[in-house]
């Protein structure tokens, strides 16, 4: 009887892990050597603030394991939350943000998306520093399952090689 109960509960917990796998989890990161890269953020006052990966990691860091449209096998991404970065720069209340990438790609992410889903700005992949060739050094990552389930599913919400964030007027 007791064993049945235990196995039921553990089965439940295990199954729901997949549900909770979408959550980012807080981690502490040991310092490593990052690639030469800069993420510029245009604050509410219009001033541009540049972050290197190491500077970015001064904000609370999180970990997220997920696959992406460009990775069939799940990888462990570590970095900071977009919402924290926006709050730091006073632009968390804007309707949308414009994100630019190294290859001159640009995309607009709506407020509704970062309010309903956790968007991680990844600076590390599988414990190693993120690189250009790996679609870093700053990559917007969202848990794939959660993203697909939501109504905002679009690869435009996950720009890679990000190098600039500004409020979209």
């Amino acid at each position: 009887m007791k064993s049945l109960f235990t196995s039921t509960v553990s089965a439940f917990l295990l199954s729901t892990q997949f549900l909770w796998a979408g959550q980012v989890s807080r981690v502490d990161l040991a310092p490593i050597v990052h690639a030469d890269a800069v993420l510029a953020v245009v604050g509410a006052d219009g001033n541009e603030i540049s972050y290197t990966p190491a500077q970015l990691e001064e904000l609370p860091t999180y970990s997220l394991t997920t696959r992406t449209p460009w990775r069939a096998a799940p990888a462990r991404f570590e970095g900071i939350l977009l919402t924290d970065l926006l709050a730091e720069n006073g632009i968390s209340e804007v309707d949308a943000i414009l994100v630019r990438a190294e290859d001159d790609y640009s995309t607009v992410i709506q407020q509704a998306v970062w309010e309903s889903l956790d968007i991680l700005i990844a600076t590390r992949v599988d414990g190693k520093a993120h690189t250009l060739r790996a679609r870093g050094p700053f990559q917007f990552v969202i848990d794939m399952e959660a993203h697909e389930r939501s109504k905002y599913m679009s690869s435009t919400n996950m720009p890679w090689m990000a190098n600039r964030i500004a409020a979209d007027q």
Partner: protein, 667 residues
């Protein structure tokens, strides 16, 4: 108009089909099927669209364009290095970045190739791009790469890549066009589907609305019918007056309340005649008119009027004041007496009214609806018996009278059969010499102890048609009695017999008269037939021909009761008669009234001009006799000259009177 009516009927029949349970189930089923089918169809089309859209959204085209830009960036950095003469550390950094970006681009391109069907140009392009990356990576492994060499190595590979990329882009464009075409076609198809759906729904909607309309109209018709039924339950449809039901209910309620009230029963006089003469439309109009008049009078007296059926009406008034009720009755009679015109004809309407109050009844018994109705009925009957066109207040005698009349009605046929009837003779004298020349035969009924005079039973006899038998009896008896006496005593008496106007509806009367003459052997010239004009004699043509037939037999004809109001001058003109009998009413005031004398004198003139012999009835004094004689009347009849007696007595008295020495003396 007709075709519209037919198609409406057809439509109604079709709708009825739909309205059945099967019909509605079928329609709903069809509706569901259509909805589901359309749902599936739209779903499939939308899925198709989404698929097209998603395959397009894979940004393959963009990859192509951006790849060209990435190649350009790489070449630009290399050119800068060429211009600078060497790969500086900064340029090295830029170059690495450019090759990294290109690297990722090639990865994207390769992924999309593997995911979607293989596009030949994409494969070629990626191969060329791979070559570029290999060259770039090799250059970066060197510590000091030669920019010019690098450029020279890169250019051919770049050229290839560019060409294949453009081809790839063209293919993507064609893909895009295809997708757009498909979208457009899908949307166009939607149009038709939507139109078809709308038509279908409109049809179904229309049918539903028509059904609903029918339902509503049907319900409204039902409500109207129900309202009408309710109305009919308590109101008469023709006159809109309360009907018998309502009358009884209300009267009952008023009686229970105990307040004094009066009940009037009102009947139309000779309504059948109006219907027969002027038609049923006129009859209906008369009924309505009378209803309106009675209703108005009833309202003025705070009562109500009702139509009990046929030509019977009733009024209930909440009062027992005799004076007020009397004036109400008079009002009723006078208002109805005003001529009523229908389609240009002026109709005379007459009413008989009977009235009783609850106070009268309650003196002897408790008032009930039945009792009150019964006594009012007696009053009405009394009005009718009194000659109609009048009102009668109930009194206790009426009931006795009514009962007696009922009894007489029952007994009369037997009386005729068993010979309880007898004739009495009243002498007629020539005014010149006061000699009796003939008699008028009058019928009497010996009922047990009493001798009932005709004025009491003749009306009943006329109403029941028995008067014909009575007259027949009188005819036979009178002719026989006079003929026998004449034969036995050598006298030359004549006799006059009254004939009811009913006789003049058939020629049988001629047969009977002839029969009586033959069996009695009386000389026809000694028989005078007295006729009174009444309403029943409207068919003058028939009457005239019968009178002609009677005169042919040799009989004399006398017009009776002249001056009572029935006899019109036209009647005088058309009837061929020998004698005119002037009613006693013209004689009554002769002695006292100048007007009466003048009137009589004028009548005498008329008679003389028309060459009628004149007999004055009702002479009761010698003076009356001399006045009329002076005026030129030939004969006289009345109590002064003799009362009606049994034949033997009458004959004897006459004979003794006629003896030369004898003068007429008052009895």
């Amino acid at each position: 108009m007709e075709s519209k009516a037919i198609s409406t009927n057809r439509l109604d029949r079709i709708l009825d089909e739909f309205a059945s349970r099967l019909g509605i189930t079928t329609v709903i089923g069809m509706l569901l099927v259509v909805c589901v089918a359309v749902g599936f169809y739209i779903h499939s089309v939308v899925a198709q669209l989404e698929q097209n859209h998603s395959s397009f959204r894979d940004q393959n085209a963009r990859n192509g364009h951006v790849a060209l830009s990435d190649i350009h960036r790489l070449l630009m950095v290399t050119q800068e290095a060429v211009n600078a003469g060497a790969m500086t550390p900064e340029l090295r950094k830029d170059f690495t970045k450019a090759s990294d970006v290109l690297f990722v681009r090639v990865e994207s391109l390769q992924r999309s190739i593997s995911e979607n069907r293989g596009v030949a140009s994409a494969a070629d392009a990626t191969r060329a791009l791979d070559r570029i990356i290999t060259i770039a990576d090799n250059a970066m492994t060197q510590s000091a790469p030669d920019p010019k060499q690098l450029m020279a190595d890169l250019l051919p590979a770049a050229a290839d890549a560019r060409r294949y990329l453009v081809q790839f882009l063209d293919e993507m464009r064609r893909e895009a066009d295809k997708v757009l075409d498909k979208q457009a076609w899908a949307v166009r198809k939607q149009q038709i589907v939507v139109l078809a759906n709308l038509t279908c729904l409109t049809l179904i909607g229309s049918v539903a609305l028509l059904l609903l309309r029918r339902e509503v109209l049907g319900r409204r018709a039902r409500e109207n019918a129900e309202a009408r039924v309710e109305f009919l339950a308590f109101y008469d449809p023709l006159t809109k007056l309360p009907n018998r039901s309502q009358f009884q209910d209300r009267l009952e309620a008023m009686i229970t309340e105990g307040r004094p009230l009066a009940l009037l029963f009102i009947d139309l006089d000779d309504f059948k005649l109006i219907n027969d003469t002027y038609g049923h439309a006129a009859g209906d109009a008369v009924l309505k008119h009378v209803g309106t008049v009675l209703s108005r009078i009833a309202d003025e007296n705070k009562g109500f009027a009702a139509r009990l059926g046929g030509d019977e009406y009733a009024i209930v008034a909440p009062s027992d004041h005799i004076v007020m009720l009397t004036s109400m009755c008079q009002r009723i009679l006078s208002d109805v007496a005003e001529p009523f015109s229908f389609e240009g004809e002026s109709l005379e309407i007459g009413l008989s009214v009977g009235l009783a109050t609850s106070t009268q009844v309650s003196q002897s018994e408790t008032v009930t609806l039945d009792l009150l109705s019964r006594v009012t009925d007696f009053a009405l009957y009394a009005s009718k018996s009194a000659g109609r066109g009048c009102y009668t207040f109930y009194n206790h005698d009426l009931e006795g009278q009514y009962q007696e009349r009922r009894d007489m009605l029952e007994d009369l046929p037997g009386a005729i059969k068993h010979g309880d009837l007898e004739i009495h003779l009243q002498p007629k004298v020539t005014l010149a010499d006061k000699k009796v020349f003939g008699f008028e035969a009058l019928v009497r009924w010996r009922r047990g102890e009493r001798l009932v005079p005709p004025n009491q039973f003749i009306l009943i006899a006329e109403e029941s048609g028995m008067v014909v038998d009575i007259d027949h009896f009188v005819l036979r008896s009178a002719t026989k009695a006079v003929a026998d006496w004449n034969t036995d005593h050598g006298t030359n008496f004549s006799v006059s017999v009254n004939l009811s106007a009913l006789h003049f509806n058939s020629v049988r009367i001629i047969e009977w008269v002839q029969d009586a003459l033959w069996s009695s052997l009386l000389n026809p010239s000694q028989l005078t037939l007295e006729i009174t004009e009444t309403m029943e004699m409207r068919d003058w043509k028939q009457a005239r021909s019968i009178i002609g037939g009677l005169r042919k037999l040799g009989c004399r004809i006398a017009i009776d009761d002249f001056g009572t109001g029935y006899s019109s001058l036209a009647y005088l003109r058309t009837m061929s008669a020998d004698e005119l009998k002037i009613d006693r009413s013209l004689v009554e005031e002769l002695e006292s009234s100048e007007k009466a004398r003048l009137l009589l004198s004028s009548v005498m003139d008329i008679a003389r001009n028309l060459e009628f012999e004149v007999t004055i009835e009702g002479i009761e004094t010698r003076r009356q006799g001399s006045i009329v004689q002076k005026m030129g009347a030939q004969n006289g009849q009345g109590y002064y000259y003799g009362r009606p007696e049994e034949p033997e007595t009458a004959f004897s008295a006459a004979m003794s009177n006629n003896r030369p020495s004898h003068q007429m003396s008052p009895n």
